[in-house]
């Protein structure tokens, strides 16, 4: 056998160990790892605010219309281009993604019904939110404390096996660690958006949509 230049190229290329096959689930986990890495890169300067309380608790990420592209969730039309999107991991290890859109309030009628501007993502406040990294400012640990203090004898927010967050009737066992954490993340992010609205342009009224979807589990 004589090696021609072309044959050598083929031999070299074929000798490569198998490549890693991409999948939506793999890409999502890699996206979460990228966010964890960002938190880890700051550890020397500032400890993770959520780590001690929630076990694994990596908050992410992306503002501006760059919702996590690797998502495998089925989002409503409004959530296709959110103003804020982030991933987080529940204490049990389930991955979740949250998407938020903000809308200006055009009017509030006599019944208290809000008329909002449409479409979303087309207001100065929405653009402002997209330019910030609000998730980084969310104090999840404080929010966990607040959620734990809530009265759960009637109902509480739970992460359903289907992956949706929903108010459920109280159960004898009460909310799980996953339930508490998911509610806390949602609240903490909402708090920073509210704080930003309060300081935006002397105080800005807005209304918003939020959706959180988590991996499904078999009950």
């Amino acid at each position: 056998m004589t090696l021609t230049p072309d044959h050598l190229d083929v031999l070299l290329t074929d000798s490569a160990p198998a490549e890693t096959i991409s999948s939506p689930a793999l890409r999502r986990d890699l996206a979460v790892m990228a966010v964890e890495a960002r938190a880890a890169s700051r550890v020397r300067r500032r400890p993770l605010r959520v780590a001690a309380t929630a076990g694994l608790a990596a908050l992410l990420v992306s503002g501006a219309g760059t919702a996590v592209a690797a998502s495998v969730f089925d989002w409503a039309p409004w959530a296709q281009d959110p103003d804020l999107a982030y991933l987080f991991i529940l204490p049990s290890g389930r991955a979740c993604e949250a998407r938020v859109a903000v809308y200006d309030i055009e009017s509030i009628d006599s019944n208290g019904a809000v008329n909002r501007s449409e479409p979303a993502n087309d207001s100065d406040f929405a653009r402002h939110i997209r330019d910030l990294d609000l998730v980084e400012q969310a104090d999840v640990e404080a929010s966990i404390t607040e959620v734990r203090q809530r009265d759960t004898t009637v109902s509480y927010v739970a992460v359903l096996p289907s992956g949706q967050l929903e108010d459920v009737h109280a159960t004898p066992s009460g909310p799980t660690e996953d339930d508490v954490y998911a509610a806390a993340v949602s609240n903490a992010v909402r708090d920073v958006i509210n704080a930003e609205a309060a300081s935006f342009d002397g105080g800005h009224d807005y209304t918003g949509e939020e959706s959180i979807l988590c991996e499904t589990v078999t009950p």
Partner: protein, 166 residues
């Protein structure tokens, strides 16, 4: 700074699977997720150095991954909780079939080259990089990389087919 963070997120998202492939091909595949996590950490710490052009940013990430590999060879290692989850993906399961003898012979010949020359060959033929891009990963001028690549292939041709030398 916000746009720079977004740019790094995009670069990581675009290249993460390829970086994982790169690390799995250079080390025990079980360790690759940990090394990828470390690569991400270093990238965030060096955010200010992120090139603006996307392909250069991609090569910058490969260069960081290579640095992590070199540190790993020196025994620097960190375990990542999420790496266990990554290891659970079917795509990362160890292959059960051993590589063909022919492939082992070629890999062995590459590994006997000088370290940077071997890595240049791997970057081009295993990871699909151009010589210019591989030069950026290795931190050498493109002209140096071209000469080294040609020399490497000559050596491999001799090693894999002694008849060519006669």
């Amino acid at each position: 700074m916000g746009s720079r963070k977004r740019a790094l997120r995009s670069a990581l998202e675009a290249s993460s699977v390829d970086l994982l492939s790169y690390l799995r091909r250079r080390t025990d595949s079980d360790e690759a997720p940990d090394l990828l996590g470390e690569t991400f950490v270093v990238a965030w710490r060096r955010l200010d150095d992120l090139p603006e052009e996307s392909e250069r940013a991609r090569m910058w990430l490969f260069g960081i991954a290579r640095g992590v590999l070199l540190n790993h060879a020196r025994g620097v290692h960190r375990r990542w909780a999420l790496a266990d989850r990554l290891r659970g993906h079917a795509a990362l399961a160890p292959t059960t079939a051993p590589p063909a003898d022919e492939h082992l012979e070629v890999r062995d010949a590459i590994s006997r080259l000088e370290q940077d020359m071997a890595e240049l060959i791997r970057l081009v033929h295993w990871d699909g990089l151009t010589i210019t891009d591989a030069a950026q990963v290795l931190g050498i001028p493109a002209s140096t990389a071209r000469g080294r690549y040609q020399r490497g292939k000559e050596l491999l041709r001799l090693a894999l087919d002694p008849a060519v030398a006669s």
